[in-house]
Subunit: 322 residues, 2 copies
């Protein structure tokens, strides 16, 4: 049994790679919900949906989020009203949010609804939200910023939601802090702790350490459970040669006082991970990683390269027995 | 100034007729919200939307509700999940509900949001919800009923929401009662009482008396305001030769102990209306209508017939001076 701690795009690719070499019934993904938002009254879970759509081969290949064969009639109408339209909701994608919101209103918890959604897509793996409770990633602006010419200037020090940072501002503004609202009062979703305790191997996917992995670990009990399984926890660095493949992880690490390199990742993960997989481009940092008390595996990690995703998956699985 | 008490389809046609002969800036519609529902977390206002879309020449001509040039991608996805899909929400129409819900969540009241929506459609008239508060039409089943083979049988005496009756059951089940949940605690929306008090003429549109007009009158203050203006209130009967042009008004009248004829309408309206317009088909009932203390005007009222809508509008306007 393999359990994967997951954010969005990078985790979805890691999961897809793993499913090439292990049966889906062996795999559980514990997915970040810090990015979730309520918009237009709808409960939107971007990371859960990116994982689901990717593994269903239904992700929009042009954007990396949302559904393939998408249309935008509702958004066009929303724009006619001058409504909030910076968060792109396609017509097909809306079907998912309508369903999730209706079921939550009926009293189902997010784990139940997620199971229903993944079953409808015929996914064989188990997908769990880290928590069914409200946990929201909030970032602090490091400088004055407006999201666009028609939006107010927010002063440095203002807190905004993750999606206001990530989508509305295209993660282009520096930040000075990240916190997880509601984390203290949250509980792991049913099955989460058991999936960590009973797994043969726990994989920290190559997701943003600060806003994809950290909010999962902020749910009381999850980090401690990982610490207890440290020898069986293998992390894949999302940072390659000092840069993130996608997204702002490198800049965020630097802005928040971490090394924007595999060493920054090692420092953040060494308490609960026994092994860190780094890219061949960072071979020279192997012994520095090991100095954090981590096993270090050096291999190709860019999953878009031919053949790499399957070999990376096999390397990660070998981490179970290192 | 003309104020129209309005339900959905019949009222929209009456308003469209009036706008052929008076300037839109002279017209205020006070619209039923008893049909409103929260579905998938979205606030849906069917009568407000039918009035808006009709007057914007954007109503779906095939259905009489929803928007023209509609697509159904979100609904298809919702059905894939096994979600609630009996209430048809097209992709374009969803844009309206997303906007309304977002604005209500932001703290705007329904009157404000309605003004924004009608402005976006460049409607010149004023459209007001009867109330910004929650007022819901609830009907009682007169017989055991299931909404379909996959839904539970509900016992006679069970209360269901208006849309569960009207849309999910195609208004095909007999009912034994209608009530308006929340009406007692509701207040007229801003502008409603003034629109009644200051109008030269108040028109009761040919809408269902029991579930379109009655819920407007159930808002404390509105019925009394109409009673005070009785001499300037003119109603158009939605019943012609004992039948409703559209919908279940005739059956509902009979089921709830009223005459399913213009006489039933006269009995329901004579307290607050001074004049009732009935169709030429009911000419023989003119003196019986007058016996309720009502002026009675007999004319063509089927607005789909060529030339009738404009002549009916002129007849109604003449009611201001009878």
């Amino acid at each position: 049994m393999i359990t994967v701690i997951a954010g969005g795009v990078g985790a979805a690719r890691m999961l897809r790679a793993l499913l090439q070499v292990v049966d889906a019934s062996e795999v559980t993904a514990i997915v970040n919900v810090g990015d979730d938002l309520i918009l237009h009254g709808l409960h939107i879970s971007p990371d859960l949906d990116t994982v689901t759509y990717t593994l269903a081969d239904a992700i929009n290949p042009d954007t990396g989020w949302g559904l393939v064969n998408e249309s935008w009639q509702s958004r066009t109408m929303l724009e006619q009203y001058g409504g909030v339209s910076w968060f792109g909701l396609g017509d097909r994608d809306l079907g998912t949010h309508l369903y999730r919101t209706q079921r939550l209103h009926e009293g189902a918890d997010l784990a139940t609804v997620t199971a229903e959604i993944t079953a409808a897509w015929n996914l064989g793996l188990t997908v769990l939200p880290a928590t069914c409770d409200s946990l929201r990633t909030i970032v602090t602006l490091a400088t004055d910023d407006a999201a666009g010419s028609n939006t107010p200037i927010l002063a440095a020090g203002t807190e905004i939601s993750f999606q206001e940072y990530f989508v509305q501002r295209h993660h282009s503004v520096p930040i000075s802090n990240v916190r997880f609202e509601g984390a203290e009062d949250s509980m792991p979703a049913p099955g989460v702790l058991d999936a960590i305790e009973s797994a043969n191997l726990i994989v920290i996917a190559p997701s943003n350490p600060l806003v994809s992995i950290a909010p999962v670990l902020a749910v009381p009990g999850i980090r401690d459970a990982l610490v207890r399984r440290r020898n069986n926890v293998i992390a894949v660095s999302p940072i390659i040669a000092g840069a993130a493949l996608k997204g702002p992880a490198d800049r965020m690490l630097a802005e928040l006082g971490h090394d924007a390199s595999v060493l920054g990742v090692a420092a953040l993960y060494n308490e609960f991970a026994g092994t860190l997989v780094i890219d061949a481009a960072d071979d020279s940092l192997k012994s520095a990683v090991e100095s954090f008390g981590l096993n270090c595996i050096v291999t190709e990690t860019i999953m878009s390269k031919p053949g790499v995703s399957e070999s990376l998956a096999r390397t990660v699985l070998s981490g179970a027995t290192t």
